[in-house]
């Protein structure tokens, strides 16, 4: 137990030194680090959001909305297909077109049209590849003919999951673009589970703005206003086919307006959107630019509808409904409607980033202001220093020289923990600091076990060398058993915890490993070297 080959000694010393070197970057700011010589490692411990301040948001993509929208579109497609004049044998008469229980159903009027109708509607189904390698291909719709000419179009399970998955991926991309516009450093956006997104934005001063940016789907469309009747008439009687009542939020209270469902041009055709000011009224506005096909379509529709109003619809609210004074041919336009500089800017951001495929729900939010973060770092630092000092003094008073050995090992231990966290790029949270302080308290346990054992053996009349040998021998299994149990607890916390709690489990787990190493190897080396140099006849412990 007390024999150390030179290479072992070298290895232990090198490892301890590595701990020191890899801890160094944490004492410098990032600017200072770049000025340091190249051999100094650059990686620092990342401070968690609870220490540096920032926002954590757990979002869930409303995939039900994706399915609902798909069925709506499918219903429109069925209508268009069956009414199509170019259909071989002419349009097909139908009745009872509707959505029920996640399927689109329609009844063909004449029995002789049934097969033709089935054939035509089967054409709506497309192939999707169900695995990454394109091996398995499947239809995305189950189109079946039932009794009495009833045709059912049911999205397949595979297509549902594919769509939901792609909606989540797309949402992540849009969320990323929107957050990038905030200009904060190193936001993190990650998928969690099937349909959740974790957003972490450090150092944010206005989390409400972040939420406002993520809370909007930002579906923009330009549609014609239905002028066959007024909105009041429609509300009192019946909304005409192909139109719907929306509200103009410009007014207080919001005014109803009858808008056609058909979209002239949608937000997908936008190539740019910028905040600006109206040249006449000096009111904040958003200017936008369509792509070529969008511009052409917009030009055609406006040319055909001069003098009539059109509605700019954002997330089912009418922002404004200006009259078309002349055909708008250049594909440029502006949106006004009582914006402030900030809201105009935010809307421009949303339009540039694109619409979310489905609404996002905020399931959880945790925001820590920079003030509290700084306070926590300071409190953690003071607590760590005082706790550390108290333990070191107590150990030195209890074990004398051996206590000093244990304390040196304890210091090496702290460096090793910091170095491991830096190398792993682990996140240090406030509970994480608590984990380190707790490890300091518990790390001495291994040494205590050994020292107490040595004391016992001396009392039993063993020679110093034997007492030390036996002490280390017998304490080893106990140390391992005792630490493995704590490590199990840390591992479970890591698996099941999140955020700050996870940070705690990391420091606790790392601390257990380094403390066993320092207690059993580093202290033992010091004891061995001391013993070799002194050869004491009697051991005072």
């Amino acid at each position: 137990m007390l024999r150390f080959e030179p290479w072992k000694i070298t290895l232990i010393v090198l490892l301890s030194l590595a701990g020191l070197i890899y801890t160094i970057p944490n004492f410098f700011s990032e600017e200072q680090l770049t000025d340091l010589p190249d051999w100094v490692p650059q990686r620092q411990i990342v401070l968690g959001l609870d220490l540096q301040g920032g926002s954590y948001l757990l979002l869930e993509v409303d995939t039900n909305a994706v399915q609902t929208e798909r069925l709506e579109n499918l219903r429109a497609d069925v209508r268009a297909t069956l009414r199509n004049r170019d259909l071989e044998g002419g349009p097909i008469g139908y009745t009872g077109l509707g959505i029920s229980q996640g399927e689109v159903v329609v009844r063909i009027r004449k029995p002789e049209d049934e097969t033709r109708g089935l054939e035509a509607l089967r054409g709506l189904s497309t192939q999707i590849s169900t695995n990454l390698f394109g091996g398995g291909a499947e239809q995305d719709l189950d189109v079946t003919l039932g009794e009495g000419g009833k045709i059912t179009l049911a999205p397949t399970e595979a297509s549902r999951t594919t769509r939901a998955r792609s909606a989540v991926s797309q949402s992540i991309e849009i969320v990323r673009r929107r957050i990038d516009e905030l200009g904060t450093t190193e936001p993190s956006i990650q998928r969690q589970g099937d349909k959740r997104i974790v957003v972490e934005v450090p150092g944010l001063d206005d989390p409400e703005r972040l939420k406002a940016l993520l809370g909007k789907t930002a579906k923009l469309s330009f549609r014609l206003v239905d002028q066959t009747m007024t909105a009041q008439q429609a509300l009192a009687t019946r909304v005409p086919q192909g139109a719907e009542i929306l509200y103009m939020t410009e007014f207080e209270p919001p005014q109803p307006i009858l808008v056609r469902k058909r979209v002239m041009v949608s937000g997908e055709s936008l190539t740019d959107a910028q905040p600006g000011f109206d040249q006449q009224t000096n009111e904040p506005i958003i200017t936008f630019q369509f792509d070529t096909s969008g511009a052409r379509k917009f030009g055609e529709v406006t040319a055909a509808n001069v003098g009539r109003p059109f509605a700019i619809v954002l997330d089912n609210e009418v922002i404004s409904a200006p009259n078309i004074r002349e055909p708008i041919l250049g594909g440029r336009g502006q949106i006004s409607g009582g914006y402030t500089v900030q809201t105009a800017n935010d809307l421009a951001v949303l339009l540039r980033a694109g619409a979310l495929p489905a609404p996002l729900n905020i399931l959880e939010e945790r925001t820590v202001g920079p003030g509290l973060g700084a306070d926590s770092v300071e409190a953690g630092r003071i607590a760590a220093i005082i706790g550390f000092a108290a333990v070191i003094i107590y150990i030195a008073l209890s074990y004398g020289l051996f206590g000093v050995f244990a304390n040196v090992a304890l210091i090496v231990n702290v460096f090793l923990i910091a170095a491991t966290l830096s190398i792993l790029g682990a996140t240090l949270t406030l509970p994480g600091i608590a984990g380190i302080v707790l490890t300091i308290g518990m790390a001495v346990d291994a040494n205590v076990l050994i020292f107490e054992r040595i004391r016992e053996e001396i009392r039993n009349g063993k020679t110093p060398i034997n007492a030390i040998q036996i002490g280390y021998d017998k304490a080893l299994t106990t140390i391992l058993d005792a630490n493995i149990t704590t490590f199990i607890a840390a591992a479970i916390l890591f698996q099941l915890g999140s955020g700050p709690v996870r940070g705690f489990s990391v420091t606790l787990g790392v601390g257990i490993i380094t403390s066993v190493f320092t207690a059993f190897v580093v202290t033992r080396l010091m004891v061995a070297l001391w013993f070799r140099a002194r050869r004491p006849k009697e051991l005072i412990l």
Partner: protein
């Protein structure tokens, strides 16, 4: 040479003789804890109950009563306003608004609008109903898995009697921790689950050290009465037990006093856990071996699980 020794050498306390007192006291406390949990309940934080928590900093001492009145006018249901660590820091807790996601988000906006300028938002946490129920599940699962793994590990390393004794002591510690949180109505949140898991680890650590010595002595003193053997084992490890508990408590005390309000509940739970874990290793885990019975003949290499006292 001076040595600080809180536990003298060669102690011979008769711990095992006190076991019936210890069992009675522990049973009483466990029953009381469970009773409190069922009647008084736990002061669940928003992690488990859902809702909104806002910590604000005000210029100068905060007018808690005034704040409470202003916020109660917002019709948000149960609103708690309390000082948090310093006179100019206030913690506001608002109950969950509805079972639908997103309904709690408007709470933050309403409160921000009500409090206006001149308030620093130090911390804002909103937990929706979906997440809070998941966190309850994950937290309970974590503690259950931890206890089962400990049971299996000790069984693997020792004999089943040790395993059962250790886990009973462990459950004792966990229940008493829940009890103290119930009696003082301290906030029970996610970090307390982390603390409980650490207590599980620590208490196990302590128990294992004593059990290790018991096993060693079982091999060494084949003819010694079990109660004397247990006493001997506890006494031999007593100075270590005291030493480790004290260093851990020293470190935790520093955290408790200087670590800030945010983790005070967390460190409190751990201090209590270290205290109760140390007690249970000595007075519960070890004496339980008397009841469970342990194999006395360790000369046979193959371990058998049949007790033969």
């Amino acid at each position: 040479m001076f040595r600080l020794k809180l536990v003298p050498e060669n102690t011979a306390f008769r711990f095992v003789a006190l076991r019936y007192v210890a069992y009675a006291v522990s049973m009483l406390m466990v029953v009381a804890s469970m009773g409190l949990f069922l009647t008084n309940g736990l002061n669940f934080g928003i992690d488990f109950r859902g809702g909104t928590m806002i910590e604000i900093g005000t210029e100068g001492p905060a007018d808690i009563g005034g704040l409470r009145n202003r916020l109660s006018l917002l019709n948000l249901g149960d609103v708690q306003v309390q000082e948090f660590g310093a006179p100019n820091e206030v913690l506001i807790r608002v109950e969950q608004q509805a079972e639908t996601e997103g309904s709690d988000q408007s709470v933050v906006e309403l409160i921000r609008a009500e409090l206006g300028e001149g308030v620093e938002y130090r911390r804002v946490e909103v937990v929706g109903p979906k997440v809070s129920s998941e966190l309850i599940e994950a937290g309970t699962l974590a503690v259950v898995i931890a206890v089962i793994l400990m049971l299996v590990y000790i069984w693997f390393r020792f004999e089943w009697q040790f395993s059962v004794g250790a886990v009973l002591a462990l459950l004792h510690d966990v229940l008493l921790t829940i009890g103290i949180f119930s009696i003082f109505q301290l906030e029970f949140n996610l970090s307390i689950i982390a603390a409980i898991l650490t207590i599980v680890g620590y208490s196990m650590n302590d128990t294992v050290v004593v059990y290790d010595r018991v096993r060693e002595n079982l091999r060494k003193y084949k003819k010694l009465n079990l109660d004397e053997l247990l006493d001997r084992s506890i006494n031999e490890t007593l100075s270590r037990t005291a030493m480790t508990s004290i260093t851990t408590l020293l470190a935790l005390l520093a955290l408790y006093i200087f670590g800030g309000e945010v983790i005070r509940g967390f460190t409190f739970a751990m201090m209590w856990g270290v205290f109760i874990g140390t007690y249970s290793s000595i007075f519960i885990a070890a004496p339980l071996l008397m009841i469970l019975g342990v194999k006395r003949d360790w000369s046979v290499a193959a371990p058998s699980s049949t007790p033969s006292v």
